[in-house]
Every structure is written in structure tokens, then in C-alpha cells.
């Protein structure tokens, strides 16, 4: 097991090198550059030349690449062109926000999606099955920016149940430490802040979790249906076992592998793809920030950010692979 983990982590290195090279080439070969976006309408040739020179963009591409690789090997991702903030500082500032949101979205998706899928499968073709699969279908096809805006309009503006956006209200005494606000407020035993933070989390987490919830529900249902048709289920019933035990102990456990795969994949997608939700809910996460950086041609941020996401993706996949062994003892890692 340990050997397997080490092997997988070592395999990260060539993946990251490949990503680094590809990302570097892509960001440097597309037209437009940071000097251009920084100056905007003010981008006269003279001003551009001066700025490019200062930014080191006038050097030949191989020279820039060598500088990039050299810094990278020392663990230095560089500084943002726009803000001059170290890339690592920007990432560590924003990734926790994305992680927190994705985690709670996933909790919602799993807590609602899996039971709905199970219930639908054991009552196949019942009204609940049809209804929940219809809801799931709508959920999968829902444009998230629309859903988000509707949530804000209904629950914040009209009903006033939840705050419209952001991670925390104004005027609360709270100091971020890890930037995982839920954890920070618990560490500081600041329960009024915790309450406010959780209150702020509900709408974006549900909005972001809706699509994965629908996907998980559908996957759970189909995986369960397949297992429920197996001979050993019939045997279990024949043994006189209770329905509850058959479903949860025998069927669900066997149906779990594809569900875990989907949960893992969806979590990876959420971490990297919460751009829309972050925009609508003014969530200062990494997704929105990276998209802005691409528009601004902030090369170091784009390079560092994508590299980081590639690493996160690989690690999430590794965790998913390892968790198979938990539900299915036949799976072993050498």
C-alpha cells in the first residue's frame, strides 16, 4: 500500500513537468501579452516596448523558459505580473476558499444524491423514481449562473433567509488564519462568526452541488439497479434477511465502486470548475481568479495555477483509487 502510494506520487513528477511545458508554451504562444492588457487603451507601441522590456518579455522564448524552469526547480513560482504578489501567496490565499466551497457542495451532493439514488432504485418506476430522475435530469442541465442568480433573488432578496453572496458579513470580528473560514472560526472558538460563515455557505454550496448531486443520484440508481438484479441479492432475500440489511449491507456496498469514482471525479471538477459559482456568489476562490489571470495574460499566475490544479487532480484520483480498497476487499494495491 505504502509502496503504491509512493509510486503514484513519484508519477506526479513527469506529469507536472509535462503540464509545465505545455502550459508555458500555450500561454506564451497565444497572441496578446500582459503589457498589452495592463496598458489597455493606453498601449502605444512605445509604452508597450518599455513595459515588455521591464517584464522580461522581450527575451527569446527559450531564455524565458529556462528562467521559468530554473525558478520552478527552486520551488519559486514567481510573482504575479499584475499585482507583484508571489504566486504561491495568491494560491494559498484563494485555494482554501475554493476547497471549502467544493467540500460543502460535495457534502450536499452526496448526502442528497446517494439516498435519492438508492430510494429510486429500490422503488424502480415508482412516482418517486420518475420524479427524482426528472429532477436529476433538470439538475444536470441547469445553467449554474442562472440557478445561482435565482437562488440569490429568491432566498436573499425576496425572502431574506440567506445573505446574497460573499463568505462572511461585514463588521464581524474575525481574522482568517488558514483561509478555511469554517476551521478558522472553530479554532478561535468564534461561534458568532462560525454561524455567519455557515449561513453564507448554504446558497453557493447548494448551487454548486446541484449538478454533482444529480450525477451522483443517477449513478447510484443505475449502479444499484445492476447489483439488485444479481443472484446473491436473491440469495440474501431467500435467506430471510431484512430488506434494509440486503439493500444497505449487500447491495450498496457492491454498488459503491462506480459511485466513489463519480464522487471523486466530480470533486476534482468542482475544485477546478467552480468559476461560475465563484463569480455569482462573489466567492474569492481560485477558479474565477485563474480565468481573470488568463484574460490579463498574467503568465506566472496561469502557469502556477494550472500546475497546482494538475497536482490536486492527481492526488484526488489517488485518494479515490485508495478508497476502492475500503469498500471492496478484493481490490489490493501492490
Amino acid at each position: 500500500m505504502i509502496n503504491y502510494i509512493i509510486k503514484r506520487l513519484l508519477a506526479l513528477i513527469p506529469i507536472l513537468i509535462g503540464v509545465a511545458v505545455i502550459v508555458f508554451l500555450i500561454v506564451h504562444l497565444i497572441p496578446g501579452d500582459p503589457a498589452q492588457t495592463m496598458l489597455g487603451e493606453r498601449a502605444t507601441d512605445e509604452a508597450l516596448q518599455r513595459l515588455r522590456e521591464q517584464m522580461g518579455l522581450n527575451d527569446p522564448l527559450p531564455v524565458q523558459f529556462w528562467r521559468y524552469v530554473k525558478d520552478l526547480l527552486r520551488g519559486d513560482l514567481g510573482r504575479s505580473i499584475m499585482s507583484n504578489n508571489p504566486v504561491s501567496a495568491e494560491l494559498s490565499q484563494r485555494f482554501p476558499a475554493t476547497l471549502e466551497l467544493s467540500f460543502f457542495a460535495m457534502v450536499f451532493a452526496v448526502v442528497v444524491g446517494i439516498p435519492a439514488g438508492i430510494f429510486a432504485s429500490v422503488n424502480q418506476n415508482s412516482w418517486f423514481d420518475n420524479l427524482s430522475m426528472l429532477v436529476a435530469l433538470i439538475g444536470v442541465s441547469m445553467p449554474i449562473f442562472w440557478l445561482g442568480l435565482m437562488f440569490i433573488w429568491l432566498f436573499a432578496v425576496e425572502l431574506g433567509w440567506f445573505p446574497p453572496s460573499s463568505r462572511i458579513g461585514v463588521g464581524l470580528d474575525f481574522t482568517p488564519i488558514t483561509n478555511l473560514y469554517v476551521i478558522d472560526s472553530i479554532i478561535q472558538l468564534n461561534f458568532s462568526a462560525l454561524k455567519d460563515i455557515l449561513h453564507h455557505l448554504v446558497l453557493p454550496a447548494v448551487a454548486l452541488g446541484t449538478i454533482p448531486m444529480a450525477i451522483i443520484a443517477r449513478m447510484t440508481r443505475s449502479s444499484m439497479l445492476e447489483v439488485l438484479r444479481k443472484d446473491f441479492i436473491r440469495t440474501a432475500y431467500a435467506k430471510g434477511l431484512k430488506r434494509k440489511i440486503v439493500i444497505f449491507k449487500h447491495a450498496l456496498k457492491n454498488a459503491m465502486v462506480p459511485i466513489i469514482t463519480v464522487v471523486g471525479l466530480q470533486f476534482g471538477v468542482l475544485l477546478g470548475g467552480a468559476v461560475m459559482t465563484e463569480t455569482i456568489f462573489s466567492w474569492p476562490g481560485l477558479g474565477k481568479y485563474l480565468v481573470d489571470a488568463i484574460y490579463a495574460r498574467d503568465f506566472p499566475i496561469v502557469q502556477g495555477g494550472i500546475l497546482f490544479f494538475a497536482g490536486v487532480f492527481v492526488i484526488v484520483n489517488l485518494i479515490v483509487d485508495l478508497s476502492y480498497a475500503l469498500v471492496d476487499p478484493r481490490i489490493q494495491y501492490e
Binding site: P31, D33, R42, A43, V170
Partner: protein, 519 residues
Amino acid sequence: MRKITLTTLIILVVMSVFVTGVMAQEQGGTLVFGRGGDTVGLDPIQVTDGESFKVTQQIYDTLVDYTPGTTEVEPALATDWEVSEDGLTWTFNLREGVEFHDGNPFNAEAVKWNFDRWRLEDHPYHIGGEFTYYGYMFQGFPGIIQEVNVVDDLTVEFVLSEKQAPFLNNLAMVPFGIASPEAVKEHGEDYFKNPVGTGAYTLEEWRQGDRVILKANENYWRERAYLDEIVFRSIPDNSARFMELQSGTIDMMDGVSPEDVEAVESADELKLSLRPSMNVGYFAMNFNFEPFDDVRVRRAFNHAIDKQAIIDAFYAGLAEPAKNPMPPSIWGYNDDIEPYEYNPEKAKELLAEAGYEDGFEFDLWYLPVPRPYIPQGKFIGQAIQSYLSEIGVTANLVTYDWSTYLDKTEHQEAPTYMLGWTGDNGDPDNFLYVLLDKTNSNNAYESEELHEVLVEAQKTMDQETRVELYMEAQEIIHKDAPWVPLVHSTPPIALKSNVENYVPNPTGTEKLHRVWLAE
């Protein structure tokens, strides 16, 4: 008795109005300002974006400042100044007793240190960025500021290598806020997160990507700010930001979508404020592409587009049709110019005269991103396309992502394109020379006649002569019609009705120390 009661009543009413008026201006409260993006950095010389300037404007002061609501210059950290006869030496007397937020004194030494840091590339603290606006306004490094001399503790002298008529206007710009030299030395490359100026507010906390929190400076050299705290929150989505305002979690916002303007105007608890325009949105025709080298075609286009209809449809009426390349808020605006009126028949005649009665086909580049002067590039592009089809001309809509778009238009690759400009310093030179001089134009408009006038205006210190020259320049431009000037937009700002004394400045940002909250 009755009379007395009435008089007493009137006196009471008047007094209560007076008293509440004074009472209401009490200090205190937190203002939450919702905006589209976060601040990039808080060292004003290193940033170029409005979201950063909005905040640095509160933390720093400049030597001279714009009178609220105008582009005229008034004293700030400098109390008065004089310029030598040759226009090359400027001497400023500085305000006494001003302190930076860190307690260090503001004096001539500090002014010199700031300018040296900006202009000298070998200065030990010429780090942390590109000093873009310095290079831009003062023509490189060290640029035209040859020397900065400390005459005495409160007198500083600038020696220029050439005359620069808009010098004072430039110094009033928010990038040239004076920073505490000690703080810059202490924080080096990270100074942009630890700003120290002399302004009405100090930085309390900056949660990047989310909010900037400012606290009132108790030792401000002007009157202390009314508000105790200002929170700038970044709320990227226009609709979400507006809903925040409606649900009361923010007090004011900019970037109001045109479709929300009516909702603001009809709500009791909200009000609208319009920023005086210092911009122009235009449609340019490139002289390198036939048939745009023919002035009759360009004038025909000018007659073909109904600007007012575009303003009503896409700006919620909050803009004025443009007839000149610069807005009326800038001195030297030539209001005698007779605009090319909307007249498709006349446009067709002009086209026929030029030999294009059967029309022609060309590419029309529309803006890929919302800009203050053209918020909805694609829709306005489509509107222009349909106006032109009415005079028999076929426009194919084309666009690129913003940075590519800028790059290609700069290199004159676009046959026709939409673009615009937001003024920097409130000087006509900043519009006319920057946009239309033969050395700068993006559409191969290379008028020698205009060049001579604009260059002369740059070297003239006499204000009246400059006004005359710019009047003349606008006539030349009108005659040559290199663009269809479209609009000067007046960006709307929505506020809760209890936000008092907010005066938007044409330059795009303003100090908020006189803003207070009623109730």
C-alpha cells in the same frame, strides 16, 4: 396668540431642519461599496486599474488635487506653486504639519524621495512593478522631470527638460500619491500590501479577492472623515451586486447595468448618481483600407448612425451623443461644431458621390469586453451594422479577445473598429494628441495640419492660447471625420438614499472623506 404660535412653529420647523441637518452629519458608521473586482495593489504608482485607484485615492494625497466634480486643479499637499518664465522650473510650497500614517513627517525630502523612486531606474526602491503611469505621463524614465530639488523643508523644486503644459494636471492624478519613504523601505517588494500615505483613511485589512477595509485617519490634515470605516467589496457579477444593494448588504455600487437603472430610480430606498463623463466611445475607420481613405465615405458613415437611439437602447439614456473626440467636461471643448446629423439619405448621396452607390462589404470589429464608454460592444456593433445596411453597406461583425483586439487595432489591422478612451488628467492633450495625432492614431489618420496644432498646444503655457489651439484642432478633426464619435457615457452609481454628499468625479475616482450616512 395665533400669530405667535405660527411664528413659533415656523421657527421650530426651521430650527429642527437646521438641527437635524447638522446632527445628521455626525461622524460614524461603515459604508460598504460594492464593485466589480478586487484591488490589484495599493501602491498607486504600480497599478493601472480603477479598482486599485478607488482605494488608493482614500489612503494617499497628491501634491495638487482635482476640485470635486471637475478636472480643475486645486491645492492639496502643496499649498501654492509657481512656474518659471521658460516653463521649465516649478516650485511648490508644501503644507506644514502633515504626517504620514506611520507618524513620519511629510516634507520636501519625502516628495523628492517619491519622485526619485519613480523616475530613476537605478534607485534602490525602483522595485515592485513597472511604474507604468510615471513612464506614461512623463515620457519614460527619468522622463521629462530632470531634477527634483529640496529647497528647504517645505519647498520643493522640479526642473523639467522640456515644457509640459499639462504638468499640474498630471500631478493631480491618483497614481502620483505620496507614500511614506520609511514604509516603502521597510516593506520593499511587498509595499503594495502595506500602504502608508497621508490620506483620510488607513488600511485596516485587505482580504485579497474579497474586500478591502479602511479605517478613518484620526490625524488627517483636512477635517477627519465622517465615516469610521469603508469596506470595498468585490462582487463580480452585475446582477448579484445589484441584488446585494436591494437586500441592503451594501450601501452603494458602481457598474449598474442599464436594465437596472429604472429599478433604482423607482425604488424609494435607492438613488442614482451620474459620473460626469470623461470618456469617449467611437467607431474608427482605417485609412489604409479602401474605401475609408475617402472622406466622403467617412462622412457618409457619420450621417448613417443614429447615436441617440443607441444611447436610449444600450445606455438607458445615460450618455450624451458625441460630436467631438473629447467630452464637454474637459476645458477647450468646441461646442460650436455642428454635428453630422442622422440622415441616411444624405449618407447615400455621399456614398454615390464617392462611387459606391451599390455599397460594399467590410469587417466591423466590435468590443469583446464591456468598457465604461461602450458597455455592450456586441449589441452596439449590431446596431451599427443595421444602420449601415440601411445605406446599402454590408458590415461583417468580427471580434477577438480583449488583449488580441488591442494588439491588432494598435497595429492598424482592423478596417473599422469600436474603441474608446477614458481620460487620465483632464487635459485636452490627453484626448486629442493621444488618440488622433499622426504619431498615435490607430487608423492611419495622419494629418500634418492637426499635428502642427497639437504640438504647438503642448509647448504653450498660456491657457487662452491653448484653448484656441484645441478649438481649431477639433475643427480639423470634424472636417476629416476619421471616426464616428459615438458617445460620452456618464456611468451610473447606485446608492442607498441615506448616503449623503457623494460627489462623483469625472476622473473616475474620488475621495470619500466628506461622505456621511443619514439616520
